[in-house]
């Protein structure tokens, strides 16, 4: 088992770290306070071809491997969780389903635009009554001649309002339960589609999280993704990949908080010496370093599994479960080590703690991950 990165992965990591430090970090505080979408980062991601990192060159992707892509999310999350959310939702959730399940025509039409970043992608599964119980889809899709008519609404959709395409799930045959859900590629200007209320959140303030409204929305027949009834499988397999992205985000947030805290405890003096000279601080740091490292290893293992195994469900679930809880734990402790200053906006750790929480919730709550893991273990 080789734990070293290849030369190209090393160089890619250096690129992502440099880029994050110089191009993303300076705006992180501002986009959090102003709750605004990271349009600057998006522009730069497009320019430097970060929008299709793990996807094949033939579709305009960068042709890199999964691990390289996850490292990009990790490095971006270290400095700005909002920015990493935008990129991972676009890449893992908004683009992957088309690559895996799309017809040649759909792939040719949408992938190049998504992989080059000309289009921003999004994924719409969650509804007011279908969160963890995602199979309880109420949005309906009825076939009418050469098009489907969609009615219903989605909530908590990342990149909403900025995305060009949305992978939307809707019920085509209620009698079949899970097997009655279908997936559609919805373009932002399809008639009957609109973006509704924007959520005000605890963290990832700059991420655009909105309601989607379908009022007799016309979706051409050619935009059915996969077959009717295959929607649930598409959603679940997509989320497997998305979960690895969230795990990467969580690891990044934890690493960022730890880095800031190590800097802080070296400088801050109380009782005549730097905090780093107190054993409590030292032991906290040691503990957090180890947890973060363990989380990172689970993450990388999941990334490798996605690339090399038929299914990566278990690895992805374990990675997300552990990395998210690590991020929450580490960021909380980091705020504590900062003391009063950590509670103010002058230091980034309070933002990191607020940002960390979402990783335990979206793309399948930690409880869902436990359901997935125990189901396999106990069968």
């Amino acid at each position: 088992m080789d734990f070293t990165l290849s030369k190209e992965q090393e160089m890619a990591r250096t690129l992502f770290r440099d880029f994050a430090e110089k191009e993303v970090k300076p705006l992180a505080q501002e986009i959090d306070e102003e709750e605004r979408f990271p349009t600057e980062a998006l522009e730069k991601f497009r320019k430097y071809k970060f929008m299709g990192i793990p996807y094949p060159k033939e579709y305009g992707g960068a042709g890199c491997d999964m691990l390289t892509y996850e490292m990009c999310i990790e490095e971006m999350a270290k400095v700005c969780a909002t920015t990493s959310t935008m990129l991972s939702a676009h890449t893992s959730l908004g683009t992957w389903p088309i690559l895996k399940y799309g017809t040649p025509e759909q792939k040719a039409k949408y992938l190049p635009k998504l992989c080059t970043g000309e289009y921003l992608g999004a994924f719409a599964l969650t509804e007011p009554n279908a969160g963890t119980d995602s199979s309880a889809q109420q949005t309906k899709a009825v076939l009418d001649g050469d098009h489907y008519v969609l009615n219903g609404n989605k909530i908590f959709i990342t990149n909403a309002g900025y995305a060009d395409t949305y992978i939307v799930f809707a019920m085509t045959d209620k009698s079949k339960g899970n097997h009655g859900i279908s997936a559609f590629i919805v373009e932002k200007n399809f008639p009957g589609f609109s973006v509704g209320k924007k959520e005000k959140k605890m963290g990832i303030h700059g991420s655009s999280t909105c309601e989607l409204i379908f009022e007799n929305c016309i979706v051409p027949k050619e935009n059915l993704l996969g077959q009717e009834g295959k929607g649930f499988v598409i959603a679940m397999t997509t989320l497997d990949g998305g979960r690895i992205g969230v795990a990467a985000q969580a690891v990044g947030i934890a690493e960022g908080a730890l880095e800031e805290t190590i800097k802080y405890v070296r400088e801050r003096k109380q009782f005549g010496r730097p905090l780093s000279k107190f054993q409590n601080t030292q032991f906290e740091i040691a503990d957090m370093m180890t947890k973060v490292k363990a989380a990172q290893l689970l993450l990388y293992r999941a990334a490798k599994a996605k690339e090399t195994q038929k299914s990566c469900t278990q690895e992805a679930a374990m990675a997300k479960l552990y990395c998210a809880s690590t991020a929450m734990d580490v960021t909380t402790r980091c705020v504590q080590l900062h003391g009063g200053y950590g509670y103010t906006r002058e230091y980034p750790v309070e933002r990191m703690m607020r940002d960390a929480k979402i990783t335990e919730i979206y793309e399948g709550t930690s409880e869902v991950q436990k359901m997935v893991i125990s189901k396999a273990a106990l069968k």
Binding site: L15, Y48, K49, A62, G63, T68
Partner: protein, 261 residues
């Protein structure tokens, strides 16, 4: 149009520290980078590739690990890379280095050669002009704003208090300043292509038309007889815990003591 950019892999001397106990350089863990002036030269070449469709080759003379710098240049968008490497070239001063690089350049087509003004480890700024002399082509140093029109290149050539606008017919050599531009980042796809699709051409002693007496340590007219770190100055006095007015009064006292005022 063929552009060859000469780059050097250097330790990031901005991060090198002195070991306070031994007074020697701590070289471990210091990352290696493409010399900043060279990177600006590379960016200038890549911009000419973007606008004029130029073909960009990067060349570096160095030990095998200089390959990483060449890969980085390829990942930024260079088309080809050449590593000039051989134990026989080791220990070369600027004369022998320029002579060797020029010999390698003579084996490939070039219209424009771009080098950085100086490397952050050697700091001499000599190799660029010396390569030009070996190739008997004009060199324009301290270049900003490069424009290509047909066979001619027009450059803003910097001096301390002025600049000249100069025009020369290619082939010629220019040395670039890091102030010339903001070099682009690599792309992730570029990195993977650099390692998986591109091959670096290796040029060794036997591939070059040079004499043993003109390369490496033997070919170097200058020789280092001693290296040392500067001795620490006699300790000054440091005062702390003064409020601003007290500090200002203290400093006035010292200024008067030293007859500054």
């Amino acid at each position: 149009m063929n552009i060859v950019v000469c780059i050097k892999q250097v330790p990031n001397t901005n991060e090198v520290k002195l070991d306070p106990k031994t007074g020697t350089l701590i070289r471990e863990g210091v990352p290696s980078i493409i010399n900043p002036d060279d990177k600006a030269g590379l960016e200038a070449a890549l911009r000419l590739k973007d606008t004029n469709g130029a073909h960009v080759t990067v060349l570096s003379m160095g030990p095998p690990q200089a390959e990483t710098a060449l890969r980085e240049a390829l990942a930024m968008g260079a088309d080809d890379a050449i590593l000039v490497t051989d134990r026989a070239f080791g220990g070369a001063d600027t004369w022998a280095t320029a002579h060797t690089i020029a010999a390698a350049l003579k084996t490939i087509p070039y219209d424009l050669i771009i080098t950085g003004r100086q490397a952050i480890d050697g700091d001499t700024a000599q190799v660029g002009p010396q390569i030009a002399e070996n190739l008997h082509i004009p060199n324009i140093s301290y270049a900003e704003e490069i424009k290509v029109e047909g066979d001619y290149i027009t450059v803003k050539r910097q001096f301390e208090d002025r600049y000249h606008i100069v025009k020369a017919k290619m082939p010629c050599l220019i040395t670039a300043l890091s102030e010339l531009n903001e070099p682009r980042y690599m792309t992730p796809g570029g990195i993977f292509d650099a390692y998986r699709e591109k091959k670096i051409k290796i040029v060794t002693r036997k591939d070059l038309d040079v004499k043993d007496g003109d390369i490496g340590l033997k070919g170097s007219p200058t020789r280092v007889i001693k290296t040392f770190t500067k001795s620490p100055k006699a300790a000054g006095t440091l005062v702390s815990n003064l409020d601003p007015q007290e500090a200002a009064d203290y400093m006035l006292e010292k200024l008067q003591e030293k007859f500054i005022i």
